[in-house]
Amino acid sequence: MTDAVSSPGSVVAATDVDAHMIHLLREMMRIRRFEERCVELYSRTAIRGFLHLAIGEEACAVGVMEALTPDDAVVATYREHGHALARGLSMRATMAELEGKVEGCSRGRGGSMHLFDASTRFYGGNAIVAGGLPLAVGLALADHLQGRRRVTACFFGDGAVAEGEFHESMNLASLWHLPVLFCCENNLYAMGTALKFTESETDLSLKASSYRIPSWEVDGMDVLAVEGAARQAAEAVRGGGGPHFLEMRTYRFRAHSMYDPDRYRDKGEVEGWKEHDPIPALAAQLSERGAIADGDLERMESEIDDEVQDAVTFADAGTFEPIEDLERFVTSEHSSGATP
């Protein structure tokens, strides 16, 4: 089933729509600039370990977050900077975490792959592919048992679909009719291996429907389409319709991670997808509508650059957690720092 939604809602004032679209554009741009800056920081070794960038996939995170309330929960993967920012984590806290500073959202304990934030119910940041799906099922189970009308949005990539945990979680969520919104960002590659080399059935939403889970395919490069589909699905989930599945067709413009030489993708393919970059696409739409003037974009970019720079400055000036605190938070009783 292909999506049909190209613009949200029924009749609203033109300016409201414009304002919303500008908001979406800004959100995507924030992520883009943040990620680009991460490349630079990684090269100068301020960020270490693994770094997985969402460049090209911004529309997925931004679009889906629009459909969630602050009370909902989000479970994401190791490519989650965009999800974190769109969910509401500050750039400062996120950047500080990437630099391993105690001011980071996870006190520097997690790094790029383990961003956590209790205030926005952002449950990571999971580095095991498909490892977050059972967690999402559990969070939804808790809501179900406590009679709360909340949605747990669970993001994962096409690679997760091969894992046993994907199938177990889909089955369990469906069996128990749990309020999970499964959001699959299908960027056609699981790390370095194309989908066609790993899946006997590459139609992912077909897999979902085999678990009797209603599923949508969405153009993941069109943020409005993503938002529209997500709103519909989330509403259904929230209303007691059980789990739903969104397959967002998207593409990452950069390699899997900073260590990846990206040998497995044809340069032509990459360039081709870049023509569907969600950010210029939305900017063009706004321009056509006359919603933004020439200087507006520059202004927005400049503001965003300032925000990113501020985050970098904040992170650079951050402090490292004292070594004496190494064993804090292994368990709760040791949060006083006592030795086990």
Binding site: A118, P134, L135, A140, L145, E165, T331, P340
Partner: protein
């Protein structure tokens, strides 16, 4: 006081928790309609309903992870993994999520999850169904590992475990389910951090847990008739270990023997031995000895299985050698 089985004691503990705290629910394979693989949850589906007694599909990873998520979401789940052997399918969730979330998130997310598992060998169910992996799990920071060996602990450890803000794994030795013991009708609360001296003695300290506590006690009884006074420690909590109790005992007896059904290489017995050497070295009059499971995948034939598991005679022989 009544005489009840270990199984019944566990059941009472679960039932008690379900009654006292509406956040508690039980999840696992065959716990509802089947009544539990070891009949622990027999009757509970009828009493508490399908919302709180949830049969799961054979999806260890998913339902353990769901237990973690539910705990994150404010519930107090008791996840029953049928046996420790199947827990291997859920190791990723246990180690990479349950044990790690609090630390990785910088202290933001507690996982107040309890996982119960049957463990151990002795029923000729062969290599894939007979593991003792408590030592493996006791290796992981972030987890509390319990091994109730008495009916009192079988009943009493669950409640404090549920109230622990961090994940707790409870290992019930499968051979204990039918064993009977005396239990007070007014149960006394137990702690989940200390070891217990089950028998006082002066010549040697025998350290055991779970299924081997009975073995140690039986050996001590026989040794007493030979004039050897053995002190038996039931570890009860395998992580963190109650080392003060161990060291105080070794300071009295000057000899230590660890009885562990798990394999000796890199197992819990090795950890206990290392700790004693590190901190009670100058109290030792003999090297720390160990009686462990044989380093084999568990065989099916009875005589071989018996040979592979620590027996009373093995403990007696080891002690005799130490005090000779």
């Amino acid at each position: 006081m009544s005489t009840i089985t270990y199984r019944e004691a566990v059941r009472q503990g679960i039932r008690d928790a379900l009654v006292r705290d509406e956040r508690v629910f039980v999840m696992g394979e065959d716990i509802g309609h089947y009544g539990g693989c070891y009949a622990v949850t027999l009757g509970m589906l009828e009493e508490f309903g399908a919302q709180r007694i949830r049969d799961t599909p054979l999806s260890e990873s998913a339902f353990v992870g769901a237990g973690i998520g539910a705990a994150l979401g404010g519930m107090r789940p008791i996840v029953e993994i049928m046996t420790v052997n199947f827990s291997l399918l859920a190791l990723d969730q246990i180690m990479n999520n349950a044990a790690t979330l609090l630390y990785m998130s910088g202290g933001q997310f507690n996982v107040p999850l309890v996982i119960r598992m049957a463990t151990g060998a002795g029923r000729q169910v062969a290599a894939q169904h007979s593991h003792s992996l408590e030592g493996w799990y006791a290796h992981i920071p972030g987890l509390r590992i319990l091994a109730p060996a008495t009916v009192e602990d079988a009943r009493g450890m669950l409640w404090p475990a549920l109230n622990d803000p961090d994940p707790v794994l409870i290992f019930e030795h499968a051979m204990l389910y039918n064993v009977e013991g005396e239990l007070s009708d007014d149960p006394v609360p137990v702690d989940i951090s200390t070891a217990a001296i089950r028998r006082a003695g002066s010549d040697v300290t025998i350290i055991a847990y779970g299924g081997t506590v009975r073995t140690a006690l039986a050996a001590a009884e026989q040794l007493a008739s030979e004039g050897i006074s053995a002190e038996v420690i039931d570890l009860r909590c395998l992580r963190p270990l109650d080392t003060p109790t161990i060291f105080a005992s070794v300071a009295r007896t000057h000899r230590a023997l660890v009885v562990d059904e798990g394999w000796r290489s890199g197992g819990l017995s090795a950890e206990v031995s290392a700790r004693i050497t590190e901190e009670a070295f100058y109290d030792l009059d003999a090297p720390v000895a160990r009686v462990c499971g044989a380093e084999v995948p568990m065989p099916y034939a009875k005589h071989l299985e018996d040979e592979a598991i620590p027996q009373v005679q093995d403990v007696i022989a080891a002690v005799r050698q130490m005090v000779a």
